[in-house]
Subunit: 161 residues, 4 copies
Amino acid sequence: MSLRIIATGGTFDKQYDPLTGELVFGDSILPSLLERARITAPCRFEPLLALDSLDMQDAHRQQVREACARSDETRIVIVHGTDTMRETAEVLGHAALDKTIVLTGAMVPCRIDGSDAPFNLGFACAAAQLCEPGVYIAMNGQVFPWNAVRKNRSAGLFEAV
Amino acid sequence: MSLRIIATGGTFDKQYDPLTGELVFGDSILPSLLERARITAPCRFEPLLALDSLDMQDAHRQQVREACARSDETRIVIVHGTDTMRETAEVLGHAALDKTIVLTGAMVPCRIDGSDAPFNLGFACAAAQLCEPGVYIAMNGQVFPWNAVRKNRSAGLFEAV
Amino acid sequence: MSLRIIATGGTFDKQYDPLTGELVFGDSILPSLLERARITAPCRFEPLLALDSLDMQDAHRQQVREACARSDETRIVIVHGTDTMRETAEVLGHAALDKTIVLTGAMVPCRIDGSDAPFNLGFACAAAQLCEPGVYIAMNGQVFPWNAVRKNRSAGLFEAV
Amino acid sequence: MSLRIIATGGTFDKQYDPLTGELVFGDSILPSLLERARITAPCRFEPLLALDSLDMQDAHRQQVREACARSDETRIVIVHGTDTMRETAEVLGHAALDKTIVLTGAMVPCRIDGSDAPFNLGFACAAAQLCEPGVYIAMNGQVFPWNAVRKNRSAGLFEAV
């Protein structure tokens, strides 16, 4: 079952800049992470954006929607910052694309010890293959329909609403 | 959706013994890996066996079957060595337990750089929540019904048959 | 040869806070890093400060000086932020303590992929055992006397002056 | 101060072969480890051998001796298996090369969680720069003259004799 993995940035993909001491975006870690996962199903990687999700504007969300719309693959994983994952999911939900779109991300960058990123990517890849067409958020070991979830920022997790 | 994670050993869970230079079994890495994954769904861990799957005998497979049968959770992930994962899956498949049982493992131990273990665990946890009752092997980013998969040992991957 | 390892914070010891997305200080990684190093020489760890070195004031530097002065061990490694490592080294240099004091740090936090921290700690531990009494900065695989080194911030490395 | 780093294999440099489940030798991890260490001193890497030190024969030890003899750099670090590190050190000690030669290794491969390899490499690089000409073993956070050390195999550490 073919998958498309779209990177948009987010905590998942941040890396450390030794000169500034900041966490920034560079080349996505997703290609090496997908290779490590030894996926044999066809799986195309698209580096679309590299943004902190708090910096994501409407125009960026339209770019994400268009990337999903034009994707040949009908099963899509979007790696996204957690803070506005719900807002992007809503834009995609209203777009009614007749594809299975699963947004995931991480609370700890993939390049930092103890990250949830590889687990979350695996979880999202299975959800994208197994769920009916629709838009979902896959975080904390759960699959949430896009319109029934929120991020609880003080607890640092997603919960059903 | 409640999950039970059963450890049986396998490459996934091997660790290095500095005194012998061998890869051996000690405490399972699964509790720390599950914590890292920030799972909020109820998730019970059961350390059942700690075996190389080439050393797994019929009696061990019956232990796995019994663990699945008595599990309160109807959605079960079994972490298992890859070499005889198919054989254990067959025993479970014939047992007809009316539960969703997903076997996964790793080609590289979780404690070694470049491991597929965290991705595979995430993938299997989603498959266990989303698949119909039955027995499946989740490896290489794919979900295979237990009776339609084999390990290709020379390529080091699972493929449909 | 007995060693004292004094933590003061710095990039070396930063960890990621999932709730704020910031790199912050928590428990020092040094005890686990020293254990991993399998050091058999007597080695005492002192968690003195947990500061970004840009936040280090004169009073903090006096605390470092006092910790060195009262140390029973005459061979001391100080893990310190790189930005003002030179300033703390100068305070220690003027204190004339008749001990071998080696400051080190890291350009990438120990908990982030590709860190120089474990190498630098090993390098500094050897320098502390082998150098004459005095104050040194051990970074970039070199031992610099405290008054003959500066940090080149645009290049992100220490160089002789 | 120029350094030469000679790889001979050993636990330090072992990697996991997913097809056989064995720890084997492939490309040395030393170039990437040296890059991570951000060394600014001239530092040349020589991949001489890739052997478990239990498989090292007299002819191999002569190769190591010749590599040291012809090295332009007078400060040399040799990464070596721990089991016969002492034997190779003895051959080099008797060769009286008027260079500073420091042998190091690791009890846990560099690519496995919790390895002592990066610390040991840093430790050895400082020792090679700071010690008088001679042959040394640098392990467990200590520098031992070649003729005053043995590996205690049951404890998994080097100790003075």
